[in-house]
């Protein structure tokens, strides 16, 4: 294949083409900084390359996953970006969802053809009471529904990791959120190492790791590259990529919304750091990418999205969004076969 003239002007893209696209090796932290510093006119080439990397190195992942929260708000941690923290004057209030409701949601999720059901609780880490609830919920769901269960319950102890694995939880979500060097600026109630430890234990126990990033919190480009490299080192199955949506009542509420082009550069960089990972475009869409990312194909390197919250925020009751799941029964297009 000939190298596009656009790439030739930017040595890092020529390198990335060879190293990532051809050889399947992610870019290093220093190389990622170069990608994040690319001028605007190089963006289409960078995103195109990211898309080619996705086509070559990622499988055809058509899995559908439902996600539900059993506890929102009232978290004792102080993550500055999160409205679930109970430490800030934030509008979210703690709510517990009952188990029958959870089983019902799992059923509805499965009925749509979804293969994954992720149970989320906004907590520092699960206590015995929560672990018992989870165990009970998993058993009830397994009795009645054919679906893979994933969890996101904060930081875990080794014992809890082993318990979840033995209960058949096949994937665990735990985010790094930001670079190690920036972490103390946004979270003071736990350390980066604690997060890394949970991630490492999850992988050790044989569960798939879903490990997210949240960018646009005021970190530098170098720190963004650092985060991508740190994630790449963890080699997660999936990386949800979030862009900060400054939340009212959180310490980051006045943070400048990230520029759309910087967000796109970050998408390209994350794909070039992790050629095989499921890279999910997970949040802040309206604020940063607006229409341009999703409509014009600029989410080049992304191969997963999250849906369902948009209607909720437009004022529909949360459970009305479950109806959205029905739409997920769309057939997989013939088109894919021609590729």
């Amino acid at each position: 294949m000939t190298i596009q003239p656009q790439l030739l002007k930017h040595p890092i893209l020529v390198t990335a083409r060879e190293q990532v696209l051809e050889q399947g090796r992610g870019l290093s932290e220093a190389q990622l900084v170069e990608v994040l510093r690319l001028p605007d006119e190089a963006l289409p080439a960078a995103l195109d390359l990211a898309h080619q990397v996705r086509l070559k190195h990622c499988g055809e992942d058509v899995e559908v996953e439902g996600i539900i929260s059993i506890k929102t708000g009232g978290c004792p941690e102080d993550c500055h970006f999160c409205s679930q923290s109970g430490l800030f004057d934030s509008p979210v209030r703690g709510v517990w969802l009952d188990i029958p409701e959870l089983v019902k949601a799992a059923k509805e999720t499965a009925a749509t053809g979804a293969t994954e059901f992720c149970i989320v609780a906004a907590v520092r880490g699960p206590d015995i009471k929560l672990m018992n609830q989870i165990k009970f919920a998993i058993d009830r769901i397994n009795e009645e529904v054919e679906i893979n269960i994933a969890c996101s319950l904060g930081m875990l102890t080794r014992r809890q990791v082993d318990q979840l694995a033995s209960w058949g939880v096949h994937r665990y979500n735990h985010n790094l959120e930001t670079a190690r060097s920036y972490f103390p600026q946004v979270v003071t109630t736990h350390t980066y190492e604690e997060r890394l430890e949970t991630c490492a234990m999850v992988k050790d126990a044989g569960m798939e790791l879903c490990c997210g990033a949240l960018i646009g919190m005021g970190e530098t480009l170098e720190q963004r590259a650092e985060l991508a490299a740190q994630l790449a080192a963890l080699d997660p199955h999936e990386v949800p990529l979030n862009f900060l949506n400054p939340r009212p009542g959180t310490p980051l509420e006045n943070q400048q919304v990230m520029d759309g082009k910087d967000a796109l550069r970050a998408i390209a960089a994350f794909r070039l750091a992790m050629p095989r990972t499921v890279l999910r475009y997970a949040g802040g869409r309206e604020l940063t990418l607006g229409d341009l990312g999703t409509r014009d194909g600029l989410l080049g390197g992304v191969n997963a999205v999250i849906v369902g919250n948009y209607l909720t925020t437009l004022g529909r009751p949360a459970n009305a969004d479950l109806n959205l799941l029905v739409d997920l029964n769309m057939p997989i297009k013939e088109l894919q076969k021609t590729l």
Binding site: E41, P44, A45, D48, E60, V62, V64, E65, G66, I67, I68, S69, T72, S83, Q84, A122, E177, G212, P240, N242, L244, N245, P246, R247, K261, R280, A282, G283, G284, E286, L287, G290, D291, L292, T294, R295, D296, G297, G300, V302, N303, V305, I306, V307, G308, N309, Y310, L311, T312, T313, L314, N319, D321, L324, L328, M330, K333, L335, Q336, L339
Partner: protein, 89 residues
């Protein structure tokens, strides 16, 4: 909600647009042409256009491949940030 940029690839969009497939249904974007009416030109399928106003695409608009979809009926932590102008009280 600001939809001023609906259907436009101007502004922050650098270079050419890559859209070849509909982000909502995954069919070729050329299938139905812009009707000249209120449907924005970047939306080839009017019914899909409505959905794309509300949620992200489920198909890659460059190659038509299906995206992995995660559906969240609830707002969950930093994963799912509501728009700042839709504050609950």
């Amino acid at each position: 909600m600001n939809r001023a940029s609906t259907g436009s690839t101007t502004g922050a969009t650098p270079g050419p647009a890559f859209r070849t497939f509909c982000g909502h249904c995954g069919l070729p974007a050329e299938k139905e042409a812009y009707d000249g009416g209120s449907t924005p030109p970047s939306y080839p399928h009017p019914a899909c256009a409505v959905r794309l106003e509300l949620e992200p695409p489920r198909f890659c608009v460059r190659c038509g491949r299906r995206l992995k979809v995660q559906v969240s009926p609830l707002l969950v932590g930093p994963l799912l940030a509501p728009r700042p102008n839709v504050r609950s009280r």
